[in-house]
């Protein structure tokens, strides 16, 4: 009676991340503390998008799309450290960027850039970490194919939140989410607010109100 294969099959498909299109309402805030009272210890922000189609006889006239993931570490609303493509590891070593991808991937759901946060190693004065996505080459998210941004609980690989960026709107940046201290542990709040800017510096005025 029971179809043993069907659900597992679907699930496998999910884990490879194909054709998943949850559009969370922009600005929707979700508390993601675990319901057993435990807290997140490691989170990853993954960013993926499809490379621009080849243009010109030799593909040399392609308008490459470069999206960048960044994380800003705040202590009491003051930026203390930033992890982005020019500074891949925070000085304290708790936040690590896996490296800059300048052109995107196949658009099949894999992360093209990722930022890993080891929450247990974050210095005691850091109380918030804000994740952002910027279009370095200036294309708005309308022009980018199969772009998404997701937040993953790194300890078990579970996806906590996912945003579809493409077709989203006429803007070039998004403030994705923040993880912030709650008592002894951490919570994550998905923000998803739109902004414009080439790098995280341009976003600072937009980040401050969400702290």
């Amino acid at each position: 009676m029971l179809d043993n294969r069907g659900l597992r099959g679907n699930r496998g498909k999910f884990e490879r991340g194909q054709r998943v299109t949850v559009n969370m309402t922009k600005g929707q805030a979700i508390s993601l503390q675990k319901n057993d009272g435990g807290t997140l210890t490691a989170v990853r922000m993954g960013l993926g998008w499809q490379a621009a189609p080849r243009r010109g006889l030799f593909g040399s006239r392609t308008r490459e799309i470069d999206l960048d993931a960044s994380a800003v570490l705040f202590a009491d609303k003051q930026p203390v450290d930033v992890v982005f493509f020019r500074h891949l590891v925070s000085d304290d070593g708790s936040v690590r960027h896996t490296g800059d991808n300048l052109v995107g991937g196949v658009g099949q759901g894999g992360d093209d850039e990722a930022i890993l946060v080891d929450l247990a190693r974050v210095p005691v004065h850091i109380d918030q970490i804000v994740f952002t996505v910027n279009s370095f080459t200036g294309q708005t998210f309308q022009e980018v194919q199969n772009a998404f941004c997701r937040l993953v609980d790194e300890t078990n690989g579970q996806e906590l939140a996912r945003y579809t960026l493409d077709g989203g709107g006429n803007y070039t940046a998004q403030i994705m989410a923040k993880v912030h201290r709650v008592g002894q542990g951490w919570n994550m709040t998905a923000l998803g607010s739109a902004a414009n800017g080439r790098t995280f510096q341009d976003l600072m005025p937009a980040i401050l109100p969400v702290l």
Partner: protein, 694 residues
């Protein structure tokens, strides 16, 4: 379109006839409760469960299973019902898992009748719960929506049903469990679960036995230290010269860290020591004519690097183990581990300093605010505010210090096991590895130049390891330095210390190279370095006596310059074999004392040429100099000084790490006062050199 829901998220339902599929990996109970607009379940007949699987518009499975399909017809659900909660529970009293924390995260999908998924949800983060409200389907303005709930209950079904306002919750939970237990008794036992972990262990264990089999299985190879001199494939007259120095140490000194790991068990050190002699073993076995010939490549490791540190118990840090890093040899693993400790210390100190800076600036700001607030002048308000600011500061700094101290303790413990395990090239002079010194057969990958530490972490010393061959020349600064302890010593003493440092470093470089691979030349124009360089001169390890006077300087520089020119030409011409017979192609180190004494313009130009072009073709510089002495040359020599790695004879904080850029205090690797280890080592080097040259 499928919506992958997260906890709390909702999604509209386009159809009224649906299936809810559940997949959990272990047999679980699936059911559903109906509740009114206040969320209250009115009675046992509002609950669909294995004992009563069918309600109007709702059907659930009759028994516990790993996979379920719940059929839902929203149109058929009574108007009074505003919410359908899908619940999952672990069967109780049947010997299965008792908490969701031990089973795979349950996965649910809401699908249409044709199987297309509308929404899905994986319930994560469950731990001690044994029942959970997974999803709810609810009315919202004449339409139905689904919401991911994931609310778990450690008290099981009884607690879950009580929470939904069911009066006879406990009795119903009992009858559900009974129905499930009966169902399970009838059903066929689930196949034993696959244990990927067990598989992995088996795979990991098999190759780990590789070294044992190669070394223990064939008798002649089992005794690395016993290769007799006649059978030595290298024909070395020194009986111990044929075996690797690391293995010799292990074989002779049972207290050596290579013989036993810190836990007293056979750990990676043992493995490392056994692999050390591998290159010499197969030929020895063959000439002995005893055991079978081993066709394995001597340099090839039969195993992946052995498993490293044991997994930490939850809540406490792992027991540190020497060699706990990646690498193909123990040497490389230790090198990587030392660099890992270096980075860890740099980063944890960065975290601590950043926290303290922040606490300072915040307190300053708060105190300023108090000062500028007119209200604070009345009564004790100002004092109280100041007190609060200070308390906040102390609290934050204390917490930062606590985290920092924890890291320091861990690094200190790691240093304590790593330091004794280091091979001579990485070890301090007081390490037993140097007392058990044997002339090596291979050039090590790196060399210890000294120790590094930060002011906050005086008791954690990081070995400063640089790769060999040296990429830059060395400059032992005998000049007066503004910072550090240099101001405490007078300039004559500083010069003597600089020479002593240079001699110790040169001796170390010589000792870690096989005989014939490295030569040291000394330029000491006025003979001021005679006493410090005496160990090198008297044991006869130098290529030639120290060159004195202008003529000596010119002669040595001319020969080295010629060597650089010829080797460069040969390499560029693609004919490195075509060098004339008189050329010494081994690596060369030129120690220059008292620069620029005895140097004319031509000699200075040659020296600069050697500094620029030498390292690429194996000619290295070690300047023992005070930059002020050469001030007359002006900026001409700036590139020379910049190209050299500056080291100081006394502790001085002038070296920056590559990650954060802290100023690290360097301390040279000096021979402990009164120790004869330098003479001991250099005598062996000299003996080996003489027999090699013969």
């Amino acid at each position: 379109m499928t919506a992958e829901l997260v906890r709390g998220q909702n999604h509209p339902l386009p159809e009224v006839r649906l299936e809810v599929r559940v997949s959990a990996g272990k047999p679980i109970v699936a059911g559903a409760t109906l509740s009114d607009e206040h969320g209250k379940v009115h009675g046992a007949d509002w609950v669909a469960h294995p004992g009563a699987p069918t309600l109007p518009g709702l059907k659930v499975s009759r028994q516990a299973a790993a996979d379920h399909r719940l059929a839902v017809d929203l149109d058929a659900i009574p108007q009074a019902v505003h919410r359908v909660s899908v619940l999952l529970a672990l069967p109780s009293g049947v010997g299965g898992p008792v908490r969701f924390g031990t089973v795979a995260a349950p996965f649910l999908a809401v699908t249409g009748l044709d199987g297309t998924e509308v929404a899905s949800y994986t319930i994560t983060g469950l731990d001690s719960e044994s029942a959970v409200v997974a999803l709810e389907l609810y009315r919202r303005q004449d339409a139905w929506k689904v919401r991911a709930v994931g609310q778990g209950y450690a008290g099981g079904l009884a607690e879950l049903l009580t929470d939904q306002g069911l009066p006879e919750a406990r009795q119903l939970a009992g009858s559900i469990n009974e129905a499930v237990a009966q169902g399970l008794a009838r059903s066929v036992a689930a196949p034993p679960p696959r244990t990927p972990d067990a598989d992995r262990h088996r795979h990991a264990a098999a190759p780990a036995q590789g070294p044992d089999q190669t070394h223990g299985g064939t008798a002649p190879q089992g005794a690395p230290g016993n290769a007799s001199p006649q059978q030595s494939p290298y024909g070395n007259s020194d009986p111990q010269g044929a075996t690797s120095p690391y293995s010799a140490a292990a074989a002779q000194d049972p207290s050596s860290p290579y013989a036993a790991g810190p836990q007293g068990t056979r750990s990676d050190h043992g493995a490392g020591a056994q692999q050390g002699p591998a290159p010499t073993d197969p030929p020895a076995a063959a000439t002995a004519g005893g055991g079978p010939i081993n066709y394995t490549h001597p340099g090839r490791r039969t195993a992946a690097p052995p498993p490293t540190a044991p997994v930490a118990q939850p809540g406490q840090s792992a027991q540190p183990v020497a060699g706990d890093a990646t690498g193909w040899s123990m040497e490389e693993r230790l090198y990587n581990q030392v660099w890992g400790m270096f980075e860890d210390l740099a980063r944890t100190t960065a975290a601590y300093r950043s926290a303290v800076d922040f606490a300072d600036s915040r307190m300053e700001q708060e105190l300023d605010t108090v000062l500028s607030d007119p209200r604070s002048r009345i009564g004790g308000q100002g004092d109280a505010a100041r007190e609060t600011a200070r308390a906040k500061h102390t609290q934050l700094v204390d917490r930062a210090r606590e985290a920092f101290d924890r890291d320091l303790t861990q690094l200190r413990a790691e240093a304590d096991v790593v330091e004794p395990a280091l091979p001579p090239a990485y070890a301090r002079w007081d390490n037993p590895a140097w007392h058990a010194y044997r002339v090596p057969m291979e050039i090590p990958m790196a060399l210890r130049l000294g120790d590094l530490h930060l002011p906050e972490s005086e008791n954690v010393r990081i070995p400063m390891l640089v790769r060999l061959p040296l990429e830059r020349g060395l400059w032992i600064d005998s000049g007066y330095s503004e910072s550090g302890h240099a101001s405490l010593v007078d300039s004559g003493e500083l010069r003597a210390l600089a020479l002593e440092t240079a001699a110790a470093l040169a001796a170390r470089i010589l000792a870690v190279h096989p005989p014939g691979e490295f030569s040291v030349h000394v330029i000491d124009p006025a003979g001021t370095g005679a006493s410090a360089l005496a160990p090198l001169v008297q044991t006869g390890v130098l290529a030639a006596p120290p060159a004195a006077g202008a003529a000596g300087v010119a002669d040595v520089l001319a020969r080295l310059t010629q060597r650089v020119d010829l080797v460069q030409m040969a390499v560029r011409g693609g004919a490195p074999d075509a060098l004339p017979p008189g050329i010494d192609v081994s690596e060369q180190l030129l120690i220059v004392n008292d620069f620029p004494h005895g140097f004319d313009d031509r000699a200075v130009t040659q020296l600069r040429y050697l500094a620029d072009e030498g390292p690429a073709v194996g000619v290295h510089l070690m300047m023992v100099a005070d930059r002020q002495d050469a001030a007359a040359y002006g900026p001409l020599l700036d590139p020379l000084w910049r190209s050299l790695l500056r080291l100081t004879p006394v502790p001085d904080d002038h070296l920056a790490d590559p990650w954060v850029g802290h100023a690290w205090t360097y301390e040279p690797a000096l021979v402990p006062p009164g120790s004869q280890v330098l003479q001991h080592v250099l005598t062996q080097v000299a003996t080996a050199r003489r027999s090699w040259n013969r």
